[in-house]
Amino acid sequence: MHEVSVAAGILDIVRQHVLAADALRVRAVRVRVGDLAGVVPDSLGFCFDAIVAGTEYASARLEIDVVPANGICGECGLAAAIDSLPPFMCPSCGSPFITVTAGDDLVVVDVELDDGAGGLQ
């Protein structure tokens, strides 16, 4: 359950970027989570909601973009999706020397702010 730590880390980063006066305008926080990042997206969403509850970010929802894992074979050079292989073996030559090229991400991408349009102001 380190999704709690990850959710807290996400909120820390958002707080560093969003002006305190704008906190209530944050509608969504978008994160990129790789298949190999060791994070369960549903758990992360649940933990984020729990972490922001009662804060000025309570109305912000977490949007998660999942990035599939990809790798390159160190012996034959084939590039392939890792989850389509037996763990970390090249589907062409069987080599275990796979370099991961995508799917390790755990990144806060952006936040979506409500501009207050629509006559509320």
Binding site: V107, E112, L113
Partner: protein, 219 residues
């Protein structure tokens, strides 16, 4: 709606604290191991066996991470080495900041080898760099041969695999060669040791390898 771009790694705070730890360990000429496993694989017994074997040759200190209690720290302290206990109060892994605080309570100039025993968990500790020179994953024969395939992140990031409880092989339906094959399928560069920490079988080979790393400047 307007969008504000951020693009920052979620674990960057832990990563930067880990980098600071790593620099500090290097400045003190310290070899630091982050020892990980599922609960009950034998991390603490491995520490006891390693300390017992090396304490006349190598100056060792231990950082113990546990969800609750200082039972492990008490066990290790009885071997006469400095021990700092971190109780995570439910936290499933150690983080670099906790280790930095723990290490503040040790005299790093008087240590050659720092052994950090992580919380028993094969999932979360894989994501949190502590600043160690290498991760050592302990897998006991009673856990089955499929664990490297089920927990690839941990095995991929480890440098050493210690297969513990090999004295129980006659009683469990596990082939050590299957464990090694699966582990090397995930990480072909793993150094592998087969031991029985309780009876000290194989401990000398593991300790000799560690001493070679210490004298080689941790290469």
């Amino acid at each position: 709606m307007s969008v504000m771009t951020i693009e920052r790694k979620v674990l960057e705070k832990n990563d930067s604290l880990a980098a600071a730890n790593r620099k500090r360990f290097a400045q003190n000429g310290l070899l630091t191991l982050n020892i990980v496993s599922s609960p009950g694989a034998g991390k603490t017994t491995l520490l006891e066996a390693t300390i017992e074997h090396l304490k006349n040759r190598v100056r060792i200190a231990v950082v113990e991470g546990d969800v609750q209690t200082d039972l492990d720290a008490q066990r290790v302290a009885s071997y006469g080495v400095p021990v700092v206990q971190i109780v995570t109060n439910g936290g499933c892994h150690l983080e670099a900041g906790l280790v930095a605080e723990a290490v503040d309570r040790l005299d790093l100039d008087a240590i050659d080898l720092l052994l950090i025993e992580n919380v028993g968990n094969l999932v979360c500790p894989a994501n949190f760099d502590l600043g160690e020179a290498m991760k050592v994953v302990v897998l006991s024969t009673t856990e089955g041969a499929d664990k490297p395939l089920k927990y690839p992140a941990m095995f991929r990031r480890a440098s050493v695999l210690i297969i513990n409880k090999v004295d129980l092989l006659p009683y469990v339906n596990v082939d050590v060669d299957d464990i090694k094959r699966h582990a090397r399928q995930i990480n072909p560069d793993l150094a592998v040791f087969e031991i029985a920490a309780t009876s000290r079988l194989g401990v000398a080979e593991w300790c000799d390898w560690l001493v070679a790393r210490l004298t080689a400047g941790h290469a």
